[in-house]
C-alpha cells in the first residue's frame, strides 16, 4: 500500500435538493486504502449528519454509491483516495442524468419503469435444461451488471438530450441482451428494442463502456449485436420470411 503523502483531503460536496444547491468543503483525515465512500461516511459521522448518500455493500457488488468524483462518474466505494490528486479539493456531485433528491442521492426510479417494458425470460417450448458453459459465458458477461446506472448517467442520449421517453439506455440494452442471448430463451425482443427502447438513437460513442465498473463490453457485445437483430428483423424481408417459416432457433 502506497504511503499517503497528505494527512488530510478536502472534499467539495454538493449539498442541496431539487430546487437549490451549492458545494460545501469538508476536511477529512486520510487513512491507508481509504475510498471516497469512507471519506463521505467520515463527513456524515463527524460534520454533516444529514449528508444524503446511497450505499449498501461497500464492496463494488451492489451498485448503490454512484456519483461524479472530480467530474468522473464512479462507484465511490471503489475509488481510492490515493488515486486522486490530493493537493486540490475533490469534487463530488450527484449523477447528472437523474433528478437530485438531496445531496448525492438522485431519483433513479425511471430505470425501474424501463425494466418493466422488457419481456421476461421465456423458455422455448419443450426445452431440455442443458447448456454449454461456452454459451453461458457469453451471457454471464451481461449478467454481471450491478445496476449502478453509471452507463445511463453518461449516455448523451439521456444526459444531454433527455430522451428518457423514447430511449431505454445502455443498462437496458445489456439487460435485453442477457435475455435475447440466453441459450434457452424463446422470445424475440426486436420490436421492443426498436419501438420502446429506441435502440436506433444510440450512435455507438462507447461512453457507457468506458464507465462500466464491471468491464462489460456494453457497446461491442450487447448494443451492436442487438442493433443487428433489429435490422435483420425489420429491414431484411427475406430473412424475416425464412425465420417465419422455420420459426428458427435463436442464435
Amino acid at each position: 500500500m502506497a504511503e499517503v503523502p497528505f494527512a488530510e483531503a478536502t472534499l467539495q460536496i454538493f449539498r442541496g435538493n431539487r430546487e437549490d444547491g451549492k458545494t460545501v468543503d469538508y476536511r477529512v483525515p486520510l487513512v491507508p486504502g481509504m475510498v471516497v465512500l469512507d471519506a463521505l461516511h467520515w463527513v456524515q459521522s463527524h460534520q454533516a449528519p444529514d449528508l444524503a448518500v446511497r450505499w449498501n455493500c461497500k464492496a463494488g457488488k451492489c451498485g448503490s454509491c454512484s456519483a461524479e468524483v472530480n467530474g468522473r462518474p464512479r462507484l465511490t466505494c471503489k475509488t481510492r483516495m490515493d488515486s486522486l490528486p490530493l493537493d486540490q479539493p475533490i469534487t463530488i456531485f450527484p449523477m447528472k442524468a437523474f433528478p437530485v433528491i438531496k445531496d448525492l442521492v438522485t431519483d433513479v426510479s425511471w430505470n425501474f419503469s424501463v425494466n418493466r417494458k422488457i419481456p421476461p425470460f421465456q423458455p422455448r417450448a419443450g426445452v431440455v435444461w442443458k447448456m454449454d458453459q461456452r454459451d453461458v459465458d457469453r451471457v454471464q458477461e451481461f449478467r454481471k451488471c450491478i445496476e449502478c446506472f453509471l452507463c445511463q448517467n453518461v449516455c448523451h442520449v439521456l444526459r444531454d438530450h433527455g430522451k428518457q421517453e423514447q430511449f431505454g439506455g445502455p443498462r437496458f440494452f445489456v439487460r435485453t441482451a442477457s435475455l435475447e442471448m440466453h441459450p434457452l430463451d424463446g422470445v424475440s425482443r426486436a420490436h421492443v428494442l426498436k419501438e420502446e427502447l429506441g435502440i436506433g438513437l444510440c450512435n455507438i460513442t462507447k461512453c457507457c463502456t468506458e464507465v462500466c465498473p464491471e468491464d462489460i463490453h456494453i457497446t461491442d457485445n450487447a448494443i451492436i449485436p442487438l442493433k443487428e437483430r433489429v435490422v435483420d428483423e425489420f429491414y431484411d424481408p427475406l430473412l424475416r420470411l425464412v425465420r417465419k417459416i422455420r420459426s428458427a432457433k435463436k442464435i
Binding site: 486504502g33 444524503a52 455493500c57 463494488g60 433513479v108 454449454d132 430463451d185
Partner: protein
C-alpha cells in the same frame, strides 16, 4: 389524523426484498392475492446480492452419491444438533427443486461438461453441492427473483423503513413506517405480514454486512410479542479482508477455499492441520474462524492481524474465471494480485443463526398472521450455519412463508387498525428533531459496535458479557435522548436513530442469551465453559417480552423421529 400519512392495503405485506422476501412475494402472488413488498434500499440492492459462493442443494450433478439425506446430516452436524430437525429435512428435500425453478425463471448457473448445473465443494458439506455462478451467485439469484416478481406484478415500496407492526387484538394488522426519501409516514394494512429483513451484523465493528443489517425485523417481531430464539449464535465468517483499514470486514468468499485455497500463519505453517486434520480449510465456519483467531492471539498472525489465504498455486486464468470478483476486489482495494500472492484474512461478523421463532411447515410465528423467513427466522442452522445453506434457506422457506401467508390472508377478514398506535409512533419518530440538546446517533452506534466487537465476539466469558450488558444499558439511555439535525428529507442521521433502536434491542438479546448458555457449541464459544454440555444440547434460549422487560426462558429441542435419528447415526460416506 389520516392526512399525516398515506395508507396502502394488501392481503400480504412482505418486509424485506432480499432472496426470502422476493421468493415469498412470488409464491403469494401465484396464489392470487394482493402482495406488497417494502424494502429499505432500492430493489435489487438487498444483502442477497453480496452472497458469493453458491446455493447448497443435493442435486448430485457432480458427486452422484449425494442426496437429501446426506445434506440433512451435514446441516444437523454443522449446527451441532440444535437445528429444528423438520426445517433441516424440508430444506434438504426441497432445495434442488427451488434451484431448478430459478433456472426455469432464467438464472444462468455455471455448467458441468454434460451441460448440467455445476456444483462446488464448501465447508462442512460432504459432497460437491453448491450450485454457483463464479463468485457472484447472489447477484444472479436476486436479479432472477426481482424480475420474476416485477413481471408478475408485485407492488414494490422502495426506500421505506418499517418501525412498528400493527395488531388487531392478538393478530397482525399491518405495519407503520416512513419513506426514507421524503420522510413522510406510511401505513400498510395487511392480513398477513412476512418478515424477511435479514440479520444484525451492523451491531459489530468488523462485519461483512451492509448498513441495512440492523436487526429490524427481529426487533419488530419481539416488540409485537413474538419469540426470538438461539440469539447467542452469531456467525463470524472466517475470512474477511483485514487490510487496508477501510476494507476491514469485507467478505472473502469461502469459495476461495472451496476452489483449493490454503490457510497459513506467518511462519508458513498450514495451521488447519492442527485444528481439523480431516477437513482442513473446508472445516465448518465456526472452527475455521476460531482457528484463525487463535493463531493471531498466539502471535502467529500476519502483519495486520490475520492469516494468509493462498490460491496462487492455481493457474491465474482459473482463479480469474472462478473467483473474478475476489480478484478485482483485492487488486483494486488492497493492491494484492491473488493469482500471484496470498490474501490477508481474518474473521468478520457475517450471519445470525438465531432469530424469530417460527413453525417449520408454515414459517408462522406465535402471532397469527405474522410470518418470518430467511436470516430473520431461526431453526434451520442450529448453532452454526454451513456455507451455501443460506441461499437455499431463502428459497425454501421464503416460498413456504409466501404460501402460508397467502392462505392465511384468504381465510381472514380485513383487520382493524388502532390509529392511536400510529399517533404514538409518529410522536416517537419525530421526538429526536424536537430535542434541543442530546447527542447525534453516530457516536452511539460506533460505541455499540465497539462493545459488541470487544465483549460479545468469537470467544466470550461471563465477565465480558456482564460488562456488555451494562454498557448496552448506558447506550440505551443515550439513545433515548438522541438528537437529530436537519429536515426529514433523506436524512441518514434520522434514519440511523430507528436502526440504532433495533440494534440495541437485538444486541441485548444476543448478550443475554450468550450469558445464559454456559457451554461452547457451534459459533458460541465460552472460554469459561469450553466444552459441549449435553444438558444444554437439549434446550434453546427463547427471548420474550414480558411486561415490557426482556426475559429469557428455556425451551426443549424438538425430538427427532427414529428414522432421522438413524440417518444421523450412519456414517456419511465421506470421500
Amino acid at each position: 389524523m389520516t392526512s399525516r400519512y398515506e395508507v396502502h392495503e394488501h392481503d400480504v405485506l412482505i418486509i424485506g426484498a432480499g432472496g426470502a422476501g422476493l421468493r415469498a412475494a412470488i409464491e403469494a402472488l401465484s396464489q392470487g392475492v394482493r402482495v406488497g413488498i417494502v424494502c429499505k434500499s432500492l430493489l435489487g440492492k438487498a444483502h442477497t446480492v453480496m452472497a458469493e459462493g453458491g446455493i447448497a442443494a443435493a442435486m448430485a450433478n457432480v458427486d452422484t452419491s449425494d442426496d437429501w439425506r446426506a445434506h440433512f446430516r451435514d446441516t444437523m452436524r454443522g449446527g451441532k444438533f440444535l437445528n429444528n430437525w423438520r426445517m433441516a429435512q424440508l430444506h434438504a428435500q426441497e432445495a434442488p427443486e427451488r434451484v431448478r425453478e430459478l433456472e426455469q425463471w432464467g438464472a444462468l448457473f455455471d455448467r458441468t461438461e454434460d451441460g448440467n448445473i455445476l456444483q462446488r465443494a464448501f465447508g462442512g458439506h460432504t459432497f460437491k453441492r453448491l450450485c454457483h455462478v463464479g463468485d457472484r451467485t447472489g447477484l444472479e439469484m436476486i436479479r432472477t427473483l426481482q424480475d420474476r416478481g416485477v413481471h408478475l406484478g408485485i407492488d414494490v415500496y422502495m426506500e421505506c423503513t418499517i418501525t412498528r407492526l400493527l395488531k388487531d387484538g392478538n393478530r397482525v394488522a399491518g405495519a407503520f413506517g416512513y419513506w426514507r426519501e421524503q420522510g413522510r409516514f406510511v401505513v400498510f394494512r395487511a392480513k398477513s405480514v412476512v418478515i424477511c429483513t435479514g440479520g444484525i451484523g451492523k451491531a459489530w465493528k468488523i462485519t461483512s454486512n451492509s448498513w441495512e443489517y440492523t436487526g429490524d425485523g427481529m426487533a419488530l417481531a419481539y416488540e409485537a410479542g413474538a419469540d426470538l430464539m438461539d440469539m447467542e449464535f452469531v456467525q463470524f465468517h472466517p475470512t474477511g479482508m483485514v487490510w487496508p483499514p477501510g476494507v476491514q470486514g469485507i467478505l472473502v468468499t469461502e469459495a476461495v477455499r472451496g476452489e483449493g485455497g490454503i490457510l497459513r500463519n506467518k511462519n508458513g505453517e498450514r495451521f488447519m492441520e492442527r485444528y481439523d486434520p480431516k477437513k482442513l480449510e473446508l472445516s465448518t465456519r465456526d472452527v475455521v474462524a476460531r482457528s484463525i483467531y487463535t493463531e493471531v492471539r498466539e502471535n502467529r498472525g500476519t502483519e495486520h492481524g490475520g492469516a494468509y489465504l493462498d490460491i496462487s498455486h492455481k493457474p491465474a486464468d482459473y482463479v480469474k474465471r472462478k473467483l473474478p470478483s475476489m480478484y478485482h476486489q483485492f487488486l483494486e482495494l488492497a493492491d494484492v494480485d491473488i493469482t500471484r500472492e496470498p490474501m490477508e484474512v481474518g474473521p468478520t461478523c457475517h450471519y445470525m443463526m438465531g432469530g424469530i421463532r417460527v413453525d417449520a411447515e408454515t414459517a408462522q410465528t406465535s402471532i397469527p398472521g405474522l410470518f418470518a423467513a430467511g436470516e430473520a427466522a431461526v431453526g434451520l442452522h442450529g448453532a452454526n450455519r454451513l456455507g451455501g445453506n443460506s441461499l437455499s434457506d431463502l428459497l425454501v422457506f421464503g416460498r413456504r412463508a409466501g404460501l402460508a401467508a397467502a392462505e392465511h390472508a384468504r381465510g381472514t377478514e380485513t383487520p382493524t387498525i388502532d390509529y392511536s398506535h400510529i399517533d404514538e409512533s409518529v410522536q416517537q419518530m419525530l421526538a429526536p428533531f424536537e430535542r434541543l440538546d442530546g447527542e447525534g446517533p453516530y457516536a452511539i452506534h460506533s460505541d455499540l459496535q465497539t462493545t459488541m466487537q470487544g465483549l460479545v465476539g468469537i470467544f466470550r466469558c461471563e465477565e465480558d458479557l456482564r460488562r456488555a450488558l451494562s454498557e448496552i444499558e448506558t447506550l440505551k439511555e443515550r439513545a433515548a435522548r438522541v438528537h437529530v439535525e436537519g429536515s426529514r428529507l433523506f436524512n441518514p442521521g434520522w434514519h440511523l436513530v430507528w436502526d440504532l433502536h433495533s440494534m440495541l434491542t437485538i444486541a441485548e438479546a444476543v448478550t443475554r442469551s450468550a450469558l445464559a448458555r454456559r457451554e461452547s457449541r457451534g459459533a458460541h464459544s465460552r472460554i469459561d465453559y469450553p466444552a459441549l454440555d449435553d444438558a444444554w444440547g437439549k434446550k434453546h434460549n427463547v427471548v420474550v417480552r414480558n411486561a415490557g422487560t426482556m426475559t429469557l426462558v428455556e425451551a426443549p429441542v424438538l425430538e427427532m423421529p427414529d428414522d432421522l435419528k438413524q440417518l444421523l447415526a450412519e456414517d456419511s460416506g465421506a470421500k
